[in-house]
Each structure stands twice: as C-alpha cells, then as structure tokens.
C-alpha cells in the first residue's frame, strides 16, 4: 500500500506542478498551455526516487535529501531545479539537483542517486555507463540503445507519451532494488538470468 500511496502522491504532485507551470508559462507571455515534455521528464525523475531503494538507504530515512544529477540537458536541469524549489516551499521531501554541462573524465558522480544523461552526451553514455557499472547510481537517459549499453532506465517516447524501459539486471548488479510496481509499469524489463533451478 505504501507504494501505491507514493504513486498517488507523485501523481498529485505531477498535476500540481503541471498546473503551476501552465500558469507560469501563460504568465510568461502566452503560448499554448501544453505541458512540456521536459517537465514530464523532470517529474519522472523525481518519481523514480520513490520506487528505488539504494543499498545504504534505510527505510526510515525517507527524509534524506536525494541528489539528482543532470548531464548535458540544461532545460531539464532548470525544470528540476524549479520542482525542487516548489517542493521545498511545501515542506516535501527535498531533492538536490546537480547540473553537469558535459562529460569530463574527472567528474565524479558518487554524490548522485540518479544520473540523467542527456542527448547531447550520446557519444559518451557508453563510457559513462561502463564507468558507473556496479555503483549504486540509477542511470537514466532518453537515448536509444541505452539499456543494451548497460544503462538502467531508458525513457522512450511512444504515441506522444513518455514511457520507460528497465534493465533490471543492471540495477540488481548495482545493488539497487527497483519496486515491482515500477517494473510492472515499464514497457519492457530486461530480467536477470533466473537463479539456478
């Protein structure tokens, strides 16, 4: 039930943010009142926090500030920052957003719980994923073949909606526990090899 509660809560927040954004965009200078894809992505990222359990995380430490890293996607970074500000205003679980412009080998992502890799980094994501393999950082991207490269969640645009695919085996290898509900809602799930039978 707890999961559902979270899901519902997330949806509520989604609606909340969306409406606020509509208002803000309308105030900003007209334009059609359409929720932008980037905003939806931001909410997705925020929601993933609730369906993933990190190895060092204990159940009761929900209030711990989660860190979302955004690599090479300025727009998404701004949306997330805005979301974080609103959440803080409402006294919700706060998140921290770290923006990375582009990949550099010296960048250490160990502070991040989630790392989003933007399209601008399409050339680098394989290397990044390889570098982060086995480390408890949920890697998310909206580039093709991300999963096959060893990424964990790939956002896919389908029929005008944003869906996702999950590489469960990569997540398990990294010591992350993904909620079955998250998995259930996924388009596809790459499962690890079944245990010995």
């Amino acid at each position: 039930m707890k999961m559902r509660l979270h899901l519902r809560m997330a949806l509520v927040i989604l609606a909340l943010i969306a409406s606020s954004m509509v208002v803000s965009s309308a105030a900003a200078g007209g334009g059609e009142p359409v929720i932008k894809q980037v905003q939806v992505k931001a909410v997705y990222l925020y929601n993933f926090l609730h369906f993933v359990t990190w190895p060092d995380q204990e159940e009761k430490e929900e209030k711990v500030v989660k860190v979302i890293g955004v690599l090479g996607d300025q727009e998404l970074g701004r949306s997330l920052t805005e979301l974080a500000r609103r959440l803080r205003q409402r006294g919700r679980t706060t998140i921290k957003v770290i923006l990375y412009n582009s990949y550099r080998p010296d960048l250490d992502f160990s502070a991040c719980h989630i790392l989003f890799i933007g399209r601008s980094q399409a050339d680098n994501f394989k290397m990044i994923v390889a570098r982060l393999k086995g480390r408890p950082i949920l890697t998310v991207a909206d580039v093709r073949h991300f999963l096959s490269a060893g990424g964990m969640i790939e956002l896919v645009k389908m029929e005008g909606r944003i869906r996702y695919q999950v590489n469960l085996s990569a997540a398990r290898t990294a010591g992350l526990r993904l909620s079955s509900q998250l998995l259930e809602s996924a388009l596809t799930v790459i499962k690890p090899m079944p245990k010995e039978d």
């Binding site: 039930m1 999961m3 359990t53 998995l183 259930e184």
Partner: protein, 513 residues
C-alpha cells in the same frame, strides 16, 4: 396427576408454553443454521477474494522477483486481525514471501482455516501461489454471539408466551372459574346472585355467562314458586282438613240424627204398646175406684151410727186418704199414658189452615190457673203472620209443652213473652221467659225423651221430645237460645205453605247454643 384432572388454566398455560417454545426452538435452529451457513459462505468468499486481491498485488513482485515488495503487500494484512499467517510461494514452490501475525498465542490448529489460491497472469502463466491462514475464532465467537442472542430471544419469547397465556387465562379461565363458582353455588342451592362477573362481552363466554344467569333466574323463580307453594301447602292442607272435619262433623251429626229418629220410631212403637196395656189395666183400677169409694162411704155411714169409737172408724179415715192417693195415682198414670200416646202418635192427620194467634190465645186461656200469680204473659203478635197449614191439635200440644216448661222455669215471678213474625215464607213463633235458663251441658239433651232436670212426679222428660217430633212432622225447625240465670227463648219456625215432601233436609234440630 392425569391430564383430565389438570385445571383448564394450567392446561392453557402448558399448551401455550409448549407450542411457543417448540416454535421458538425450531425458528431459532432454522435461523441459526441459515445465519451460520450464510456467514460461512460470506466468510469463504471474503477470504477467497482477499487471497485473490493480495495475490494479484503480488503479481509484479513475483514476476520481477522482488520479495520485499511482496512482503510489504502481505504485511498490509496486518489490518486484518484474524489473519494468522500468509505465505507466498513462487512457481517453483519455494517460499517467496511470508507474513506472520505477531500474537499467535492460544491458537490451536483446529481453529485455523487456510485458503490457497494460484496466482496467474493475464496471459495465463502461473507465477505462484498464496496461502492465507485465518483464525476461525472470530467466526466461532460470532456463532456464539448469535447463539446467545437466539437464547435471549427464546427466553424472551417464552416469557412473553407465559405473559400471553396469563392474559389468555384471564380471558378464558377467569370467566370459566366464575361460571364454575356460579354452577357450584347453584348446585348447593344458592340462587341469590344475579350477576356473572364476566358477562359483559358478547363473545362465547359472555353468551354462556348470560345463558347461565338466565337459567339461574329461571331456576330461582321456579325454586321460589316451589317454596311459596310449600309454605302455603300447610295452610291449604289445614283448610282442606278443616273442610273435611266439618263434613265429617256434619255426617256424624246427621248420622246421630238418623239414629235418633230411628230410636224415636222404635221407642214410639214400644211406647204405644206399653201405653195401651197400661191404659187397659188402669181402666180396671179407674173403674173400680169410684165403686170402692162409694161402697166405703156407705160402709162408713153405717159404721158411724153403731161404732163411732171403734178402731175400724179410725181405719176408715185412713182408707179415705189412701183412696184419694190411689185416685191421684190413676190420674197421673193416665196423664203419662196420654203423653206417651201423644209421643207415639203417628204423623198422619189433616193439615188445616190455622190462625196461630187464636190458637196461642186459646192455650194461654187454658193455662191461666197455672200462671196466675207467677208469670205475666206478654203478647207481641205480628198481624201480618199468615195462616199456617198444620195439624191443629198437635201444634197446640207443642205450644202447651213449651209454655208449661217456661212457667215451671220461673221460680217466683216472671214474664213470658210470646212473639210472632213472618219471614221468608216462614212463620216464626217465639216463647221467651226470664226463668232459670238451661245449663250448657244440658242443652244438647233437652229434646231427648225422658231427659228431665225436674224432680220425679213433676217432669216426665217427654214434653220437648214430643214437641220436637210434632214440629219435625210439620217440616219445621226449633231453635233454642238459653243462658243459665237469664232465661230461655224457644223459637218454632214453620213453613207457611204445606210441605208435600215426606222428608226435608232441614227438618232436624235447629242450632243449639
């Protein structure tokens, strides 16, 4: 105690209690069965649904092999207190996740009911199985509660049945009781009550009661009539007895009169014979006596000249007085014989119209020497007195006898009142003196022959009996009113018209006082 001896009151109560308790028992059992059955069904459906829901919530966890999520889902059953244990098996049959309720104390295996359900995906693949073990104690408790409620309902309905039977008892048994009481009282002979306590209504009891009251009324009426009859019976019997007594007395009286007249007739014949003989013999003496007297006188004249001083002279004097005595004896004997003849004389004789006043004057004239300085005769004759048909010399003798008695009853001086009057076709002739009167004891014998209170030589006792016979022969009556020391009144009542009939019913002796 037999069923028939039980009072209706108790019968009613018993039957009511029995039927109601039976009904309640059956209803309770049926209800209990239904409810328990229903509860069990609902319970099973519930549990199956629960297993289904929980199982499908665990689908994803099983699919993606996330036992933690399954554990979280199973743990949600914590809210259901009766669930003891939930085990989730994966498709290989290994325990995938489980949940165990913390408080497991006092739960025996028997009370645990387990529900198992396969978990199958939409595409039909079998991913696992869920087993929920539920504590049936709640069920049992629920059953017990229902039983308790049913018990309460049963007891309550029994009480209400008892109460109803009490009411019924009042409705049926009470009037019955009062009826019984009434009937008992009737049976004991008490008809004095008029109301039945429960006769107000128009139901069967009311009708019965009023019928009983009506019956009782009739019974009472007839009873009272009977009692009234009984009360008056004695009086009526007494009256009837008196009537009978009177009739008897009359009978005895008339019998006595019959005997009297028979006696008289026989006596009459006897007396006639005796009188005839005495008359014959007396006529010898009477014939001889004048001669003896004459011869004695001649003898004395002869002796007077020769033997005046001889003792025979003295004897001659004695003879003269003796002769006088003999003469007197003959005279009296003749008188008696005359009386006897009159007494025995048969009733034949001519009926002639007689003026009674003239007849009475005649007799007073005959008796004027007898009553010379003793009795004053007062005549109080009614000139309207008609001529009466009778045997003239017989009636004259009757008047004579009565008048002589009246004169003899007067000792020194007195009055004799003769009174006549007509009334109702009859002639009344009354002789009233203020002489000695008649003693009551003597009153009933004065008409008997030879009854006399007078010294021998003075009374023969035939006077009134002769008079009685004469009046009877005239179909008349004699009444006597007398009081000792005050006087006597004798009334002769004669029919004016000559009576043809030989015997008349009122020819007897009149009322004697």
């Amino acid at each position: 105690m037999f069923w028939r001896d039980v009072s209706i009151k108790h019968k009613l109560t018993l039957i009511l209690m029995l039927t109601s308790s039976l009904t309640v028992l059956v209803a309770c059992l049926a209800f209990y069965g239904l409810v328990v059955n229903h509860f069990q069904k609902v319970y099973k459906r519930d549990m199956n649904n629960l297993a289904l829901i929980v199982g499908s919530n665990c689908k994803a966890a099983l699919m993606f092999d996330v036992p933690e999520d399954a554990g979280v889902v199973l743990a949600t059953l914590k809210g259901r207190k009766s669930v003891r244990q939930v085990i989730l098996y994966d498709k290989q049959g290994h325990v995938f996740a489980s949940y165990k309720a913390s408080a497991l104390k006092g739960t025996s295996v028997k009370e645990i009911c387990s529900f198992s359900r396969k978990i199958i995906l939409d595409d039909g693949t079998y991913v696992g199985r869920i087993v929920i073990e539920d504590d049936m104690r709640d069920m049992a408790r629920g059953r017990r509660q229902i039983l308790l409620i049913l018990l309460l309902v049963g007891v309550g309905s029994l009480f209400s049945a008892f109460w109803l039977s009490a009411i019924l008892r009042n409705v049926v048994s009470k009037p019955l009781l009062s009826l019984t009481e009434m009937v008992k009282r009737i049976a004991a002979g008490d008809f004095q009550f008029k109301k039945c306590s429960s006769m107000r209504g128009r139901d069967e009891m009311g009708v019965l009661c009023s019928a009983f009251v009506e019956m009782n009324k009739r019974l009472r009426d007839s009873h009272e009539r009977l009692e009234e009859y009984n009360r008056t019976l004695e009086g009526r019997v007494a009256a009837r007895t008196e009537e009978l007594q009177n009739a008897m007395d009359d009978l005895r009286k008339s019998q006595a009169q019959l005997v009297q007249s028979e006696k008289m007739a026989a006596l009459g014949q006897l007396v006639a014979g005796v009188a005839h003989d005495i008359n014959n013999n007396i006529s010898f003496i009477a014939g001889a006596l004048p001669n003896i007297k004459r011869m004695t006188n001649e003898l004395v004249v002869e002796m007077a000249e020769n033997h005046k001083a001889s003792p025979a002279w003295q004897m001659h004097l004695d003879i003269v007085s003796l002769l006088a005595n003999a003469e007197e004896g003959v005279r009296r004997t003749k008188k008696i014989v005359q009386d006897l003849n009159a007494f025995s004389r048969s009733s034949h004789g001519q009926l002639v119209p007689v003026d009674i006043h003239a007849e009475l004057n005649n007799i007073i004239n005959l008796l004027r020497y007898e009553c010379r300085d003793k009795a004053e005769i007062i005549r109080d004759f009614d000139p309207d007195l008609p001529v009466v048909y009778c045997q003239r010399d017989h009636m004259g003798q009757a008047y004579m006898n009565i008048l002589l008695n009246a004169i003899q009853a007067i000792e020194k001086r007195g009055t004799i009142r003769l009174k006549t009057w007509p009334a109702g076709g009859k002639a009344y002739i009354s002789f009233q003196d203020n002489g000695s009167g008649i003693e009551p004891e003597a009153l009933e014998y004065i008409f008997d022959p030879f009854f006399s209170t007078k010294p021998v030589g003075q009374g023969t006792g035939l006077g009134l009996s002769i008079t009685y016979n004469i009046v009877k022969n005239h179909h008349g009556k004699i009444e006597v009113h007398s009081a000792p020391g005050r006087g006597t009144e004798i009334v002769i009542i004669l029919p004016v018209e000559p009576c043809k009939k030989a015997d008349e019913e009122d020819g007897g002796v009149g009322g004697m006082e």
